[in-house]
C-alpha cells in the first residue's frame, strides 16, 4: 500500500536517512524503532509532508505522495506533543479536520460524537484541552486524527508523555482502535517493548539506515545485525569467528550456536539471558561450551531475577534470567550453558 523507495535526507553534515526502502501493507500496525536521532521521525515527517527527501520516492496506493502538500494527503499525524488547539473545545478540535473538508454540519456532528464515544470521551466534549489529563489529551489527539478516516495514520512517540500505568492502558487501547477502524498505523518509537507489543512488523533504524524489518518474534529470536541484537531486548553478545558447531569466541573457546555461515567468518553470538542455564559449579561436568564464573550481582524484578556472572576471559558479565526469586548469592561459583539452537550467530 505504502511504498518507500530509496529515500535519503541530509541536514548539513548529518545524514538523517540513507537510502531507506520500506513497504507497508494495508491494515498493518507498523513500527519504526530506533534510538533518538536515528532518522525515524524525519521519515514520519516526510510521509506527513512537513519535510521533503533529497532523493527517493514515496507512493501511496500506487500514486505519488511527495508532490502533494500536507493538507492534501490522505495521511494524518498524531503529534508527540498532541498539538491540540488550546483555544478550542475537545469537540471543536475533533471537528476541525472535518470542517476543512466542508462536510455537512449534521455529518460532522454525528462523526465527532461517534469517535468521541469510541475513545470514551463523550463526557469531555465541551472541555478545553488544558482541563484534561495526559491520557485524555492523547485520546483527543487520536480521535482528531482517526475521525478523518485517513488511509494512513502516523503516530510520533504516541505514549512517551504518559506515565507507566496509563501507558500500558493506552497500548491496549491503541491496538483495539487500530483493529476497530482498520486504518494502517505507522508508529515511531524508541521504546522497543512498546514496538514489540504494538506492532505487526517492526523496522529497526540505526543512523538513518534500516537494519532489519521483521515481525516482533522473529526480530527477537533472529536478529540479523549486531545493532539489532544489542538494541532489541537484553542479549549476551560474544565476538569471534563462526565454526561448524557455533562460534570460536575470543578467549572463551568454542561456544554452542546454530549457524549456516561459512567457517571463519567474523561474527557475533547472541544468547538471550532467559536461555542461559545456571547451575552450581560442581553440578556440571566440564564440556566445551560450558562457562564457569562467579556471581557478581543478583537483581530481583518480581517475575524474573537477573543474575550477572563474571566469566574469566570476558570483560562484561554474562547475564542469566531466572524465573521468580533465586537462591543464588553473589560470590557463588556457577556454571553457565545453553542449547546450540539458543545461540544465534549474527554476521559482523
Amino acid at each position: 500500500m505504502l511504498q518507500i523507495t530509496g529515500v535519503s535526507r541530509r541536514f548539513g553534515d548529518v545524514t538523517a536517512l540513507a537510502d531507506v526502502s520500506l513497504e507497508i501493507r494495508q491494515g498493518e500496525f507498523f513500527a519504526l524503532l530506533g534510538p533518538s536521532g536515528c532518522g525515524k521521525t524525519t521519515l514520519l515527517r516526510i510521509l506527513a509532508g512537513f519535510e521533503s527527501p533529497d532523493a527517493g520516492t514515496v507512493t501511496l496506493d500506487g500514486a505519488d505522495l511527495l508532490g502533494r502538500p500536507p493538507h492534501r494527503r490522505p495521511v494524518n499525524l498524531m503529534f508527540q506533543s498532541y498539538a491540540l488547539f488550546p483555544h478550542m473545545t475537545v469537540a471543536k478540535n475533533v471537528a476541525y479536520g472535518l470542517e476543512r473538508e466542508k462536510l455537512p454540519r449534521a455529518e460532522i456532528r454525528s462523526r465527532v460524537g461517534e469517535v468521541l464515544e469510541k475513545v470514551g470521551l463523550s463526557a469531555m466534549a465541551g472541555r478545553r484541552p488544558q482541563q484534561l489529563s495526559g491520557g485524555q489529551r492523547q485520546r483527543v489527539a487520536l480521535a482528531r486524527a482517526i475521525v478523518k478516516r485517513p488511509r494512513l495514520l502516523l503516530l510520533d512517540e504516541p505514549l512517551s508523555a504518559l506515565d507507566k500505568k496509563v501507558r500500558a492502558e493506552m497500548q491496549l487501547e491503541l491496538k483495539r482502535l487500530q483493529h476497530e477502524v482498520g486504518i494502517t498505523f505507522v508508529v515511531v518509537t524508541h521504546d522497543q517493548e512498546e514496538a514489540m507489543s504494538l506492532a505487526d512488523r517492526i523496522a529497526v533504524f540505526s543512523a538513518g539506515r534500516v537494519e532489519q524489518v521483521d515481525e516482533p518474534v522473529a526480530l527477537y529470536q533472529r536478529p540479523r545485525t549486531p545493532f539489532v541484537a544489542g538494541f532489541v531486548g537484553e542479549n549476551n553478545l560474544f565476538g569471534g569467528r563462526a565454526c561448524s558447531v557455533g562460534l570460536a569466541a575470543d578467549g572463551l573457546g568454542v561456544l554452542p550456536g546454530s549457524s549456516d555461515m561459512p567457517d571463519g567468518t567474523s561474527a557475533l553470538l547472541a544468547v538471550r539471558p532467559e536461555r542461559v542455564r545456571l547451575a552450581p559449579a560442581d553440578a556440571v561436568a566440564d564440556a566445551p561450551g560450558v562457562l564457569r564464573g562467579e556471581v557478581a550481582d543478583v537483581s530481583f524484578y518480581g517475575g524474573v531475577s537477573h543474575v550477572s556472572v563474571t566469566v574469566p576471559g570476558r570483560q562484561e558479565p554474562v547475564l542469566a534470567a531466572v524465573q521468580g526469586a533465586t537462591r543464588t548469592l553473589p560470590g557463588e561459583r556457577v556454571a553457565l550453558s545453553w542449547a546450540p539452537e539458543d545461540g544465534v550467530l549474527v554476521p559482523q
Binding site: 509532508g49 495521511v75 503529534f79 498539538a83 488547539f85 476541525y96
Partner: protein, 257 residues
C-alpha cells in the same frame, strides 16, 4: 538574613526622583489659584477650563484620529511582518532591520520623513502624521508579536495543515487566535506611543492641523498654567491605564503558553 537598612536609602531616593515630578504635576492640577508653583486650595476649575478650550479640543480630536489610524495600520502591518519574519525568513539581518524604527532617534525619523514627503510630493496633514507614526508603531507591534511567535508551538500550525487546512485557513484559525493577546498588547502600545508623540508629529503635521502635544507645546511657550497640568494629568491617566492593560495582556499570554 538581615537586610542592610542603608541600602533602602538609594532605593527610595530613586523612586522619589522618578515620580516626584509627576506627583507635583498631578497635585498642582487641582490648584484653586492661578500660579503653577504655589498650592492655594483644592479645585477642579482647571479641568473645566481646558475642557472649554477650543484649541485643546481640536488638538485632542486630531490626536485621537492620528492614534486610531496609526493603531489600525501598525497592528495589521506589524503582525504580518512578525509572522513573515518568524515563519518565512531565515535572515537575521532582515529581522534586525525590521524592528529598528522602534529605536531610531525620533529626530532622525522626523526629518527623514519630512524630506521623503517633500520628495514624493505628499501634502502634509493628519494623514502624513498617521503614516509617520505607523513607521515606528509597526516596528513596536512587530517586536511584541514576534516574541510571542518564537514561544508559540509550530506543531499547532502543522497539525492544522495535517488536518486538511490550507495555509490561509491555518493562519486565520490557528496562528491568529494564538497571537491575539500579543497583537492586542502591540496595538495598545502603538496607541499610547502615538497619543503623546511630539517630535515626529512636529515635523510631519500641517500647521493648520496640530496634534495635542503640539498644541500643549505652543501653550507652554508662554508659561505653564494649571490648565496644562490638568490636561497632562488626564493624558497620564489614559497612558497608564492603557500600558497596564497591555502588560496584563502579555502576562496573560505567557501564562497561557
Amino acid at each position: 538574613m538581615r537586610k542592610p537598612r542603608l541600602l533602602y536609602v538609594p532605593f527610595w531616593a530613586t523612586y522619589v526622583f522618578l515620580y516626584a515630578p509627576i506627583v507635583v504635576l498631578v497635585v498642582m492640577s487641582f490648584n484653586a489659584g492661578g500660579s503653577p508653583y504655589s498650592f492655594e486650595g483644592f479645585s477642579l476649575k482647571w479641568y473645566g477650563e481646558f475642557a472649554a478650550n477650543a484649541e485643546i479640543r481640536r488638538g485632542l480630536v486630531n490626536t485621537l484620529i492620528v492614534a486610531a489610524g496609526t493603531t489600525v495600520l501598525s497592528t495589521v502591518l506589524g503582525t504580518l511582518m512578525a509572522v513573515g519574519l518568524a515563519r518565512h525568513s531565515r535572515s537575521r539581518l532582515l529581522d534586525a532591520i525590521g524592528v529598528l524604527p522602534a529605536v531610531l532617534p525620533d529626530l532622525v525619523l522626523g526629518i527623514g520623513l519630512l524630506l521623503f514627503y517633500v520628495w514624493v510630493q505628499l501634502s502634509l496633514g493628519l494623514h502624513s502624521v498617521v503614516l509617520a507614526h505607523t513607521v515606528f508603531g509597526t516596528a513596536f507591534v512587530a517586536a511584541v508579536v514576534r516574541t510571542r511567535l518564537t514561544h508559540a508551538d509550530t506543531s499547532l500550525e502543522e497539525a492544522s495543515r495535517d488536518l486538511g487546512a490550507t495555509p490561509v485557513a491555518t493562519f486565520f484559525r490557528i496562528t491568529l487566535p494564538q497571537l491575539a493577546p500579543g497583537i492586542a498588547a502591540g496595538a495598545l502600545l502603538a496607541f499610547t506611543l502615538s497619543v503623546d508623540e511630539f517630535v515626529i508629529a512636529f515635523f510631519t503635521s500641517a500647521p493648520t492641523e496640530p496634534t495635542l502635544p503640539i498644541v500643549i507645546y505652543s501653550m507652554v511657550r508662554f508659561g505653564v498654567t494649571p490648565e496644562i497640568n490638568a490636561l497632562a494629568t488626564v493624558l497620564l491617566a489614559v497612558s497608564f491605564s492603557v500600558v497596564i492593560a497591555a502588560q496584563r495582556m502579555t502576562r496573560l499570554t505567557e501564562s497561557f503558553s
